[in-house]
């Protein structure tokens, strides 16, 4: 479908969104690029001239860089694995006939509405606090030594908090996907002699592939830039400094805008590597 007329109309109608986003991307990006080649220290008079690639070199050679990249990937990966695995299980559970399904769904969806800041605060103070936290009480109740969550299990804690926030999202998408599975397919498999586990492995899981891809894509976009959860809980200590947080420290704590901008450029590159990688999969999966 399409006549010349509608094609030119289409181009015009795309324009606002494309131009806005192009502006939103290019203007700050250009400024960031410019800063990244400068010695830019607001606390020491601001722009102190061009320094070439010095900031870039300094940023990657800093001992914090590679661990930060690693931390970023571990958090993103960990949350993805947890939300997808539990999301699938939960979706399967919620798909079963039961009483009060609507209410259970409300309960499960609730964390999605909670601001990251609030959820981090609540988890940190009221659950993970090693003395007054509810988890500590629970551990003590069972006679165990309370875990010092945010220091001894810092990554686990952060992954847990973030997973809690994103689990509803994954669950809901996967639940809708499961519900869209043609029940005749499952019955066919049953007739074909597939046991419940085989039905899950051979029919349900492949059916969910597309939905899982979407979950992974959307979550990755948001997870790459998680900030509030770390800012509130560990402030980057105990090995929870992500690339985003490292940049934050460079720009805002050390007030070294040039160095931070170089970091920003690295983060953009990393994000785009992940993005391209994802898009490849998603692009393929979305066509199907």
């Amino acid at each position: 479908m399409a006549t010349q007329h509608s094609r030119s109309a289409a181009r015009i109608m795309m324009a606002p969104a494309v131009i806005l986003l192009l502006g939103w991307m290019l203007i700050p990006l250009t400024m960031t690029l410019v800063f990244s080649f400068k010695k830019y220290l607001p606390m020491r008079g601001g722009d102190l001239g061009w320094v070439g690639f010095e900031n870039y070199v300094r940023f990657v050679t800093s001992s914090a860089f590679w661990p930060a990249v690693g931390t970023t990937l571990v958090i993103v990966g960990g949350v993805l694995v947890i939300t997808v695995v539990f999301g699938v299980l939960l979706a399967m559970l919620l798909d079963q006939p039961m009483w009060g399904q609507g209410i259970v769904r409300l309960l499960v969806i609730a964390p999605f509405f909670v601001m990251p800041t609030v959820s981090a605060l609540v988890w940190k103070n009221m659950f993970m606090d090693p003395v007054n936290g509810l988890l500590a009480h629970l551990w003590k109740f069972f006679g165990a030594q309370p875990v010092e969550w945010l220091s001894d299990a810092s990554m686990t804690s952060i992954i847990m908090i973030v997973s809690w926030q994103w689990l509803p999202f994954a669950t809901l998408i996967l639940l809708t996907a499961i519900q869209s599975l043609d029940s005749e397919q499952l019955e066919a498999a049953e007739m074909d002699g597939a046991k419940p586990l085989s039905r899950f492995g051979y029919i349900i899981l492949p059916h969910l592939a597309r939905a899982i891809t979407i979950v992974v894509l959307i979550q990755t976009i948001f997870l790459l830039s998680i900030f509030a959860e770390i800012f509130v809980t560990t402030q980057g200590s105990f090995g929870t400094r992500t690339l985003t947080y490292l940049i934050f420290q460079r720009v805002l704590e050390s007030q070294n805008v040039g160095l931070g901008s170089a970091g920003g450029v690295y983060a953009i590159i990393l994000a785009n590597i992940v993005a391209i990688f994802l898009m490849r999969i998603v692009g393929k999966n979305l066509d199907a």
Binding site: K39, L41, P42, M43, R44, G45, R58, S62, S63, A64, D129, P130, V131, N132, Q145, P146, E148, W149, L150, S151, D152, F231, T234, Q235, G236, S237, F238, G239, R241, Q249, R250, L252, E253, S254, Q255, N256, L259
Partner: protein
């Protein structure tokens, strides 16, 4: 002057919250309205620094500390407070505070309240341990007492100290402590000193003390967490800000209000004690159009009258401490149990010569250079990780040395 609306950024500490509640008095007197932007300390720092560095002009008054004041003043970012009215009596400000908030002799931020640090301890536990706290104890005594008071089965820990990473959190404490151990951040040529023996002693002592007598999860404890612990009666001693005294002695919140006493922060006999000096102060960013009104506010908020206003409304125990000499001369205030100790602590700190060996910087528990916030926090994270048992003291110091050198290099020292 016609009525203005002032936007004031402040920290969510109790004294400031109280000030918010009393804003009506200011509006009544001057006609100016006030919009409060109350933020948690870390967020506040980030917001105001961002705004001042870019000349964002979002705030007419910012709440800053002793760390920021001289640095910002040197960049001409603050309005000098050298023309305050006679009534205000600027000379009444405690000299240590005045020094810390001035740059080249000119005051750039008016102290709202000031603090040092001291030991708060449980008299009942001390007694039970068969010890007696001297007025000016040593670190060794603190350690001995702490170990003696500890009763982990009953969740009683001899000493609660800051462990949460941050230049204003564990590093405030550790830097002040290191001063008393004879350590310093930099030598005269700005070389990082974490490879020194004095630092090794400091950190080892701290880790050992916490290991033996500290509460669990100490590596995430800051002021608030320790306060909560102490109020619940879980700490034998707590070395922290003098302002905490009013909280731990407040029977509404504290289960141990009547069993607390105070002592000066410990030393090692090398001169400096392990206490810090800090003030939350109000400053006016250069370039604001509402300078006049802003000054009026600062005069109101840091005045003697304001102190009386608070006393009237909330009682003398709750007035903002540590800013004015006259407060400590006030008869009504003398009854407050922690008043004298607070004053003594403040007076025992010297921001201009904080360490045993000479240093090129000023600041007791911080180094008044712009890079310090970043460096301090990262070093704090290393030390915090050591406290959490994730690395040894040596490793932490090594990393601290490396990253400090690195950052200083990046900043062009």
């Amino acid at each position: 002057a016609y009525a203005e609306t002032l936007t004031i950024a402040t920290v969510n500490n109790g004294d400031m919250i109280r000030m918010q509640g009393l804003t009506d008095d200011f509006t009544e007197k001057t006609g100016h309205e006030v919009e409060w932007v109350t933020l948690e300390e870390n967020v506040l720092r980030q917001r105001v620094t961002q705004d001042i560095a870019t000349q964002g002009g979002q705030f007419d008054i910012m709440t800053i500390g002793m760390y920021e004041a001289p640095i910002w003043a040197s960049n001409d970012w603050l309005v000098a407070l050298d023309d305050l009215s006679e009534d205000y009596d600027a000379d009444d400000i405690l000299p240590a505070m005045r020094d810390g908030l001035s740059y080249e002799g000119t005051l750039y931020a008016a102290p709202f309240y000031g603090e040092s640090s001291m030991i708060m301890y449980r008299t009942d536990l001390m007694e039970a341990a068969g010890l007696e706290m001297p007025d000016a104890p040593t670190w060794d005594f603190v350690k001995e007492a702490a170990i003696a008071m500890t009763d982990k089965d009953n969740e009683i820990y001899g000493v609660c100290l800051r462990g949460k990473a941050g230049w204003g959190e564990n590093m405030a404490f550790l830097t002040a402590m290191s001063n008393s151990f004879g350590a310093r951040w930099f030598d005269e040529d700005w070389n990082a000193q974490f490879d020194s023996e004095a630092w090794a002693n400091t950190l080892t002592f701290y880790l050992d003390l916490m290991e033996q007598a500290g509460p669990p999860g100490a590596s995430t404890n800051g002021f608030n967490e320790n306060l909560a612990l102490f109020q619940q009666g879980k700490c034998g001693m707590w070395i922290d800000a003098t302002v905490a005294a009013s909280f731990v002695t407040n029977p509404d919140d504290s289960t141990v209000a009547d069993k607390v006493d105070f002592a000066l922060a410990p030393d090692m006999g090398k001169g400096p004690r392990g206490n810090w000096l800090w003030a939350w102060a109000l400053a006016i960013p250069a370039g604001t159009e509402k300078e006049g009104a802003a000054k009026e506010f600062i005069e109101w908020a840091t005045s003697k009258e304001y102190i009386e206003l608070v006393a009237e409304n909330e009682g003398w125990a709750n007035v903002p401490p540590g800013a004015r000499t006259s407060l400590y001369e006030n008869e009504n205030y003398k009854d407050i149990p922690f008043a004298q100790m607070t004053l003594d602590s403040i007076n025992s700190a010297n921001p201009l010569q904080p360490t045993v060996d000479p240093v090129p910087y000023q600041g007791v528990q911080f180094v008044a250079i712009p890079e310090f916030a970043g460096i301090g926090t990262q070093v704090g994270q290393e030390f915090s990780a050591a406290l959490a048992g994730q690395q040894t003291a040596e490793e932490a110091l090594e990393k601290a040395q490396a990253l400090t050198t690195d950052e200083m290099e990046a900043a062009g020292y």
